[in-house]
Point group: D3
Chain length 150, copies 6
């Protein structure tokens, strides 16, 4: 896929299929990150605190959500970061999330305005009750089309 | 550990031990997220493009870096998001990263100023050549001490 | 173990111990293969369709079944493929499968009849209700004994 | 995606991106299947036998290849098995495979000719030297379009 | 951390946070070790025998318990083995274990009494009903302080 | 398999096939146990200390070695612990271990002499240079044969 900066349209939206967050995902994310906090890994502890059950790591939900809308490779774009990631509600074992990705803004790159632009895509993850659980803004640097640089 | 909002000091810094990012980490992160892009998973493709070898997923580096400075549990604090995550340099298989976490700002919570404050901690991951590879700002909501709310 | 072509007997049968197919197996197989179809990974989707719950990947059941009857190494035999793999019934999380392997046919190799023969072994996987869930024919090329080549 | 039996065209071909088969993939496939044969898991043994290095499990290559061309979900099709899987050449750690999937045949279902047809898709996996390493025929049962059943 | 032989105090005790042993842990430990015994992996088999459900591998409980009290790195100490590991009660899926580590004995090294001492630490793992499930003695060789060797 | 206490013979020995300890095994064991010590996980740290490269966790070598000689299930025996585990030499990434298991002693059970006996089996793991890397004594409680209790 070759999609240039000029091809992005503010407001255009993609939507993922669903994925259930399992105990396996949490145990494997603890194993990948070394974060074995009892909020994620101790069902006794979790049942005694306010939330009442184990919760998924924030970085697990972010990582999975990003993967769920990875889509086709755009040879013209490069992901370079994220802004404003917020964990709105806890995700529990057995919750099923779906992710939407909406182009929020397209803006000129401050130092290389002729060559590339910056595209902001807002990801929103909802659970099976349609409650928003996470929001994040993904940032891409995208090549301008040859016409644009002429 | 019980550390209240008033106990945080701007400028105080923690530093992790090191961890080598392995091919296993990348393959398992692809498996956890479903992101099998050839930049991460195809050594032939990677050897032909500008970077020259496979690169770790951004969400892998973020997740591992956050885990590396997870430290002790503070019962008074709750992580609720991240700001300004930037992937400065690629991380390759065999690179070893170390993470520093520095308290950057402590500010009043806009809607609940008597109860909680917001603490911003800047994480920086460096590789074995002491090059900065990632920066991220982690946000905590922290309870004020009882004295503070009186 | 050294078992030559002449040592195989049509009708001889081996039987595995049982193994429960878990949510972990499915999540890990999705991670290994990149197949995150909602039939396997989305409990909400699965509960709404005809089957009613998540199903194991066909390649998971095949891979596990083959492993369950791997048995001892026969230095004289080489697996070179499979014929007629059929997924007869879905396997759900919590189902326990048992595998039988029966020698179905021994036949001359068309191009190297003096050296090797072809052995066909039929694998059948049953669930805990003794229902057939999968069948597959595994093919081996097996050395003839020295006497046979004389 | 909704693609009926009549929409399949013999000869139409899809092609995957590449994926490098890693030591991690082999170790995890051994762990998933229980097949720890030294051909896959013992580098000393492998270096002494004819092939000279560890080889990937056949079921690993099949599982990964199937996942690599999983593509979009077709609500009208159901995979029900495989025919004629052959492992043509060994796949070693560090080999990169690419998969093509070509519609080979479309034929009437013997017992339900009005409702569904059978589609045969041939998968071929090649390594980075463009050598064929595996071939398999995947079988789908596909709904006929409403017009077709009228 | 630099803690010399003379700094260890018999009777001093550390206590871990809790961790729930999950089905994922057992499946992954089977995959790491190749031990797929039905006591661990076959819920049908397990429900028919005296214990009534699947049990965690002994080496899983030992490995996890050791990790749970790994604590900070002591540059002066080297683990070199274990004595008297006993599995007192089975650990089932969903049980939550907590580990205490108590310095049991400090004794002179028989061959290098001037340089190092031997420290014995007894690990005890309890489940959520406060029943002892495992006990093990971990052995460290610890450098004596410079003063001690003078 | 049904092998009673009287059937064990002191000195009888089993020998496993070989298995290479990979970087994947170490990363997964860190993930399972939470032990991310730099001796195992930081190649830079390891290259600077006396041993010169990353070493496998002791509990990884024990777990894998035990799995490598798990053999057939003996319905009459129950593993209940280990004695005298010693890590003689470090195991590095790429080392291949082989395990021997020798019946060392058969002794009467102190409290139930009529019913069961205790069998001690010594496991020894060697690397590809035939150097001993680990030794452990596994303990079984084994039923006496009916004749024995008459």
């Amino acid at each position: 896929m070759n999609m240039h900066y000029e091809d992005y349209e503010v407001g255009s939206t993609r939507r993922s299929i669903g994925r259930t967050i399992t105990e396996t995902d949490i145990v494997m994310h603890a194993g990948q990150t070394g974060d074995f906090y009892p909020h994620h890994m101790d069902s006794e502890f979790a049942s005694r605190n306010a939330i009442g059950q184990r919760i998924a790591h924030g970085t697990l939900i972010l990582s999975v959500a990003v993967g769920m809308v990875a889509g086709n490779i755009n040879e013209e774009a490069m992901s370079y970061g994220y802004d404003r990631i917020r964990f709105i509600r806890p995700v529990h074992i057995g919750d099923t999330i779906t992710v939407t990705a909406r182009i929020e803004a397209c803006r000129t790159h401050p130092r290389r305005p002729e060559e590339v632009g910056i595209v902001e895509e807002v990801l929103e993850a909802h659970n099976q009750r349609l409650e928003l659980v996470m929001t994040a803004t993904k940032l891409y640097i995208v090549n301008r089309s040859d016409e644009g640089t002429a």
